[in-house]
Amino acid sequence: MKKHHITLTVNGDDYDALVEPQQSLLDVLRDTLMLTGTKEGCATGDCGACSVTVDGVLQCACLMLGVEANGVLVETIEGMAKGADLHPLQKAFLVHNGLQCGICTPGVLVAAKALLERNPDPTEIEVRYWLAGNLCRCTGYDKLIQSVLVAAKEMRGA
């Protein structure tokens, strides 16, 4: 199958990739760039495990074609910590046990970060609706939501 050449920036690094026309951005991230932190749970945009931001907008990487990602800026879970310094959301998830098996965690963290960038002081209900696109089967959401609220508070310096 004919492949297309794209260039994109992921977590600040520039990449070249050859992609088949049917491949998604998720396939490109995982299989071509070997950035496997972004997970595939459904490949139909229903579970949110592959949440990334594309040019600052929260997006399911499985719903964007690789060829559409030519020239975009992508942020994934691998770019959230700055070296050994975890993002406050990552710390809060660790301390408050916001994760169990961890498969949904990268997507949840990326989505939560996008929420806090647009709304630094969300209510619990707002967090629940914002994260309604991120399925978690382990936690029952309770500690996951609490972790986001704790991180938001810390980031506000409250």
Binding site: E40, G41, Q90, F93, L99, I103, R137, C138, D142
Partner: protein, 765 residues
């Protein structure tokens, strides 16, 4: 082998604990928040091929022929396998059935049943190759509903099958003619007729539930490779690496010592990853190509190809006196198992009434094959479905005689020393304490908000022990690694590390738990039934005690005193008395430092078939609101009360309670397999198979009851199964309390609720 620790766990209620009961950060958590954690689909090997599976479009058909020649000729295709590439093992035997489930041989038994597989250099080539495989089918009539499958004129899945335990006089089964009923199982105690004769109130109802899926977010993925010599290495997401190895050895006819199963991080299992699917297929492709082959399921394949739980029908009858004493209970239970046996349905009659001290019980249970994917375990397999019915009748009886819901349950509650209908006599149990905590909690004491209804339900799970083999190694710097062969499904590594640290008197940060491959340890049973933290606690505390004993001997040698002159407390070895002499206490690190100059490595292993699991009990309280115009049920408030024995890591325990309850909410309100007339699943995706999302549920309040299990060094019982057992019943009871209509069928989804509301209104006139 007799193990002292199984006789004497060393549990002491007054033991001062420094680590157990605190909430340290999970060691595996760090990699999980950065994306670095390696789940099986993240494993990449040099030269790796992509494997894809062709699946049956029919629910039931004879395979007349498979032509793979065109697929094999496609450039980039390296191998194709079909049922013919697997050893022939007789159907109707455990391994024969297992082989046929991973790859069909004579027949396909459900839509999505694998019929062939390819390995190719890219996913797009593999997909193209699947389209080139020609399969000729002779389509047969199918049956999915378990009750329909029991009828005399139902399509028969296996002409050789005769019902095990068939009883003359039971028209549902016969030992003489082919039947879809795998087994009839009877269990009871006392005299049921006499019991009902004593009752003032008797209620009998019929309930049914649909198959639901475990719903783990990580689709199954595995990568297999095969050396020139035929040694197999398999990475996969599994709850049972050792069980996989042993079954692979049986069905592929390869020595177990030549199969290495390496568990990856596990992206949810809940029972669904206790059986293999693509693993044997990837291995056969790797053996043919001598290249690594990776197979990752799509979500649709997960739904159509892996085990949902049993759909059920249960007829249940319970009678009680006016004072609340239950006098008798009778049940007939039907479990749908998919093409072959494997539902663990005998759990249901054993557990359904267990928590109530009943003198007269009769149960008859049937396991029935049908044309849907084979059942896989799910938290407390087969129990929640029947508790949905039992607790409905219990609530109705309490209402009928005008007794408080919890008082009625308390009146019949099992106490220490109670005997179950499966002939186990309980030691120390915490059901009464759990009910007391539920009755005293703020939720139960608060008035039911206007327009809402409240439901109560209770549940029981046995909890398990079983074969466990682990090692503990002390590094010369005094830090400790423990190698464990059980899977970590939700963070058990930290809880296990905490128990080791507590026993050794060192910080938990000095203990690292490593997930072993199957070459490294003895056999470990599947992680299931809430057995892992319990069993590993027993085994690794045994290891820790062995290491302490070894270190005490070394301290004695260093001090040149007799062994009994050294005692260990609070992480230090000291002279046992003034007469031993004056020596500066030695820490674990002090002695470890002298590893080389003393006797070499300080290490221990322990291999046990662990017994002494403590039964678990829970009580759920839920408030709901029902929109009678849309049929939607909203969970307004939810409280889980459960006896953990001892919460090693309380946040983890709460997480189990909350996660189980929310899975139950999904099962109660939405989740079901919907099959078309053609036998195909119509909702194999998360859009149409609707699991709860964050905005569907409230916070789940938790109350951890701690009635210690004296057979465990720290008193723990196991907490993974019970949280899902009472949920659907509690919600149905709340709906009944809210709108005067207690559903007797799951799920209680909006269209079904609307239909029942319409029927209720029609009956009212």
């Amino acid at each position: 082998m007799a193990h002292d620790i199984l006789e004497n766990s060393g549990f002491a209620a007054d033991r001062k604990l420094n680590i157990v009961g605190t909430n340290p950060i999970k060691h595996d958590g760090w990699d999980k928040v950065t994306g670095a954690a390696k789940f099986s689909s993240d494993v990449i090997l040099p030269g790796m091929l992509v494997g894809k599976i062709l699946r049956s479009p029919h629910a039931h058909a004879v395979i007349k022929s498979i032509d793979t020649s065109a697929a094999e000729k496609l450039a980039g295709v390296k191998a194709v396998v079909t049922g013919a590439d697997f050893p022939r093992i007789k159907e109707g035997t455990p391994y024969g059935d297992m082989t046929r489930m991973v790859m069909a041989q004579e027949k396909v038994y459900h839509e999505g049943h694998p019929v062939a597989a390819v390995a190719a250099t890219s996913e797009s080539i593999a997909k193209k190759a699947l389209k080139l495989i020609k399969v000729e089918y002779d389509v047969l009539p199918h049956v999915i509903d378990p009750v329909a499958a029991m009828q005399p004129d139902a399509p028969i899945l296996h002409s050789y099958m005769r019902t095990k335990g068939a009883k003359p006089g039971d028209p549902k089964v016969s030992a003489d003619r082919p039947s879809n009923v795998v087994e009839r199982y009877e269990l009871g105690v006392g005299d049921v007729e006499a019991g009902f004769a004593e009752a003032d109130v008797i209620i009998e109802r019929t309930f049914d539930t649909k198959p639901m899926h475990q719903g783990y977010i990580e689709p199954q993925s595995c990568i297999a490779s095969c050396s020139e010599e035929g040694e197999i290495e398999l990475w996969c997401c599994t709850q049972a690496p050792f069980v996989y190895r042993d079954r692979l050895s049986e069905i592929l006819k390869v020595d177990g010592s030549k199969i290495k199963v390496q568990q990856s991080e596990l992206g949810g299992g809940f029972g669904g990853k206790t059986a293999f699917y693509a693993e044997p297929v990837a291995i056969q492709l790797a053996r043919k190509t001598r290249r690594p082959v990776k197979i990752t399921f799509t979500r649709s394949e997960v739904f159509r190809g892996t085990g949902p739980v049993s759909g059920t029908q249960s007829r249940i009858k319970i009678g009680c006196k006016k004072d609340g004493t239950i006098t008798a209970a009778d049940a007939e239970l039907i479990f749908q198992t998919g093409p072959y046996s494997g539902s663990a349905f005998t759990n249901a009659p054993q557990a359904m009434f267990t928590r109530y001290d009943l003198k007269n019980v009769r149960t008859v249970s049937y396991e029935v094959v049908s044309n849907r994917p084979k059942v896989a375990s799910f938290r407390a397999p087969c129990v929640p479905q029947v508790v949905f019915g039992v607790e409905g009748i219990i609530s109705e009886l309490a209402n009928k005689i005008g007794m408080d819901q919890i008082d009625f349950r308390m009146k019949n509650a099992m106490a220490n020393g109670a005997r179950t209908i499966y002939a186990e006599t309980f030691g120390k149990i915490g059901f009464i304490e759990t009910l007391e905590a539920a009755k005293a909690c703020a939720h139960y004491r608060s008035p039911v908000p206007k327009g809402q209804g409240r439901g109560i339900s209770t549940g029981f799970w046995f909890n398990r022990g079983g074969e466990t083999s682990s090692t503990l190694n002390v590094a010369p710097d005094g830090s400790v690694t423990i190698t464990i062969g059980t899977a970590d499904v939700a963070g058990s590594r930290i809880s296990i590390s905490m128990m080791v640290a507590e026993e050794l008197g060192i910080p938990v940060d000095k203990v690292r738990a490593v997930l072993a491959d199957t070459h490294q340890l003895g056999f470990n049973r599947v992680t299931a039934g809430s057995r892992t933290t319990f069993s590993q606690g027993v085994v690794l505390v045994d290891c820790a005690r062995k290491v302490i004993k070894e270190m005490a001997e070394r301290a004695a040698r260093i001090w040149k005193v007799p062994e009994e002159g050294v005692e260990f407390a609070n992480g230090e070895f000291r002279p046992a008395g003034a007469n031993v002499g004056e020596f500066k206490p030695l820490t674990i690190a002090d002695i470890a430092k002298q590893t080389t100059s003393t006797e070499g490595a300080i290490a221990a292993r322990s291999d046990m078939n662990v017994t002494g699991a403590g039964p678990g009990f829970g009580c759920h309280i839920v408030d709901v609101a029902v929109d009678e115009e849309t049929g939607a049920v909203e969970i307004k408030r939810y409280t889980v009360v459960e006896d953990a024995g001892k919460a090693i890591h309380p946040l983890q325990v709460e997480g189990q309670f909350q996660g189980g309850a929310v899975q139950g909410i999904g099962w109660a309100l939405n989740e079901e397999y919907i099959f078309g007339e053609d036998g195909k699943m119509q909702n194999p995706g998360f859009l149409d198979y609707r699991m709860p999302v964050a905005s569907d549920v409230p916070n789940i309040d938790t109350i951890i009851v701690e009635v210690p299990n004296p057979r465990h060094p720290f008193g723990l019982r196991g907490v993974g199964e019970v949280p899902v057992v009472p949920t659907m019943a509690a919600i149905a009871n709340a709906i009944g309390d809210c709108i005067g209509l207690r559903p007797q069928s799951l799920p209680m989804s909006p269209p079904r609720m609307l239909q029942w509301i319409k029927e209720r209104d029609a009956a009212r006139g």
